[in-house]
């Protein structure tokens, strides 16, 4: 696997200022008729950190993610990204702001090549309305897509149909698609879902490598997966923040132990 493409943040804030917050939620609340999926979540993500959000099934992790990426509009509360209120923006606008996401259930373009999956994502940042030149004439986008595929270990499969990749490869393509949009914050929704132990290890290694240049928010329900990986962990339970801290603190936290042992 080659070096990472340049995916450094550019849009938001100044780099180097220690512990600047990039993403913040204030009293984020989501109610689906009768059910409160998120209940007043206050959350703050620091630039450059690798944060894991964990919690048992139904804790509100995916709902939280869907709010951050514009899929769901919260019932109450605000989401701030680098000082801008992005609460009411749709997924495309949020992506353009610099938040990218991968999906828990593989969500790719199945009937085009692996390269095209990533190239079209890179193209969302420039040349996206060009109509009169062949798309392959934009060599910069192809080079960028190849660099991303190299980074996620799929360059050898560039010309395969995405549908023909193995499950594990498709999961990594997910991450590649998100990376190709050059995000400031990368949200990964259970990137190792359905993976074998070996694949999980490789993907976690991949996440560790890309985390050097990015702010990453990773959702997991398996606490062990993120223990050695995350800088900090936020535990969601019944739509509320149950605990937040360094992995070791979280592991020792009696309330967290209680929640996880009950499951």
């Amino acid at each position: 696997m080659g070096p990472l493409p340049d995916v450094r943040p550019s849009a938001v804030g100044g780099r180097g200022a220690a512990a600047t917050s990039v993403l913040r939620t204030e009293d984020l609340t989501v109610r689906f008729d009768g059910l409160t999926a998120l209940n007043g979540v206050n959350f703050e993500l620091q630039r450059g950190e690798l944060r894991a959000v964990i919690g048992p099934n139904g804790a509100g992790k995916s709902t939280f993610f869907n709010c951050l990426t514009g899929v769901l509009r919260p019932t109450a509360g605000r989401i701030l990204f680098g000082g801008d209120d992005i609460t009411d923006l749709g997924p495309d606008r949020i992506s353009q702001k610099g938040i990218a996401r991968s999906y828990q259930i593989t969500n790719i373009l199945p009937n085009v090549t692996t390269l095209e999956n990533v190239r079209i994502a890179a193209q969302s940042r420039r040349h996206r309305w060009s109509m009169l030149r062949h798309y392959r004439a934009y060599h910069d986008l192809i080079a960028e897509a190849e660099a991303v595929l190299d980074a996620v270990g799929l360059l050898m499969k560039a010309n395969e149909l995405a549908a023909n990749l193995s499950h594990g490869e498709q999961r990594n393509l997910e991450i590649g698609i998100a990376l190709a949009t050059k995000p400031t914050v990368l949200c990964l929704d259970e990137p190792t879902a359905g993976m074998s132990a070996a694949e999980t290890r490789d993907t976690m290694e991949l996440v560790r490598r890309i985390a050097k240049d990015l702010t990453i928010l990773i959702v997991e329900h398996d606490m062990q997966v993120v223990m050695g990986l995350a800088d900090r962990i936020t535990v969601l339970h019944y739509g509320q923040v149950l605990a937040e801290g360094a992995p070791a603190e979280i592991q020792r936290n009696p309330r967290v132990q209680e929640v996880y042992l009950k499951i």
Binding site: S95, A100, N107, A121, Y135, L141
Partner: protein, 317 residues
């Protein structure tokens, strides 16, 4: 595409255009007219393929865009003296683009069958308006006008003969094909295909899907309008029937028969359908729709990728 593919494409393109250019010189008048019409309906079908095959939107409203092209050209030819070919084209395209923009604005908020139904309903509204607004559109009787000559008015104008008309249509359709082909392979065209493949994901990587759909519908509408202009020029009349949903339905059938997502397929589909209808109506007189329907259903079942897809598979065997 490799260099060799590019070369064989241009050779194939040149051969087919040459054959179609030679057609009016050898064919009797009836068939000459028939081939010109196939090209015009082929252009309409091709315009619709941009939506069906590339964006994954099935439009049942292409008759509106086609019809507005016909009426736009008619208006230019009736209101401005002396009639001007380029003005007719410009007004036809503008009318089609305007209507396409209007329809697109509302219909692209909806997906799948809801999109199809919305386009159908809008086209029928335009049909009713045109059919009933007799003082402007001629209503049931339609409008007749005379075809302008080719050239720069006041300087040099040649009258169209059936043969030069055919060549003019062929040139416009061939050029439209090349433009549409380029559009479908441009960055914009790749976004349309991404929308067809996975709309949610396309949105999530930062594309404003609705804007792309609106532009796609308008582009498609402009080319459908161009087909309408050509039809008006060739036949020198406009009728409300061209805005009726039958035209939209046949456009979809050309696409399905020929093979969607290929641009060429819909032209092949139009040619096949029109020839089949002509042949069947000679044998079965007024019952020709029955065998036509049976054949269409059989084709959908046995060659779901259309004639072109079937031919490709058969050639690759």
């Amino acid at each position: 595409m490799t260099k060799r593919d590019t070369r064989s494409f241009w050779i194939g393109f040149a051969v087919i255009v040459a054959l179609l250019a030679a057609a009016p010189l050898v064919l009797p008048p009836f068939w000459r007219h028939f081939v010109t019409e196939i090209l015009i309906w082929g252009l309409l079908a091709m315009s619709s393929d941009l939506l069906i095959g590339y964006t994954g939107l099935i439009s049942f409203g292409h008759s509106a865009f086609f019809g507005l092209g016909v009426y736009g050209a008619a208006a230019a030819l009736l209101l401005v003296a002396p009639p001007n070919l380029f003005l007719a084209i410009a007004l036809g395209l503008a009318a089609a683009a305007l209507v396409a923009g209007f329809v697109a604005f509302f219909s692209t908020r909806l997906r799948d069958i809801y999109f199809a139904i919305t386009t159908l309903i809008f086209s029928q509204i335009f049909y009713v308006i045109i059919f009933t607004w007799t003082s402007v559109t001629g209503g049931e009787n339609g409008l007749t006008f005379t075809r302008p000559g080719l050239g720069v008015p006041g300087l040099y104008v040649v009258r169209f003969t059936p043969t030069t008309m055919h060549w003019f249509v062929l040139a416009v359709v061939a050029l439209s094909y090349l433009v549409l082909r380029r559009i479908t392979r441009s960055p914009f065209g790749m976004v349309l295909q991404a929308i067809r493949e996975n709309e949610g994901r396309t949105r999530a990587i930062g594309y404003h899907v609705e804007h792309y759909k609106i532009v796609a519908v308008m582009l498609s509408g402009v080319f459908a309008g161009l087909a309408g202009v050509l039809y008006a020029l060739q036949n020198e009349f406009a009728a409300a029937d061209f805005v009726f949903f039958l035209v939209s339905g046949e456009t979809v059938i050309y696409n399905v028969m020929g093979g969607i997502g290929t641009l060429v397929g819909p032209i092949v589909g139009a040619a096949f359908f029109l020839l089949l209808r002509e042949a069947l109506s000679r044998f079965f007189t007024e019952y020709y729709l029955i065998p036509l329907g049976v054949i269409f259903i059989a084709m959908v079942i046995f060659m779901p990728q259309g004639l072109l897809g079937f031919a490709r598979r058969w050639l690759n065997r």
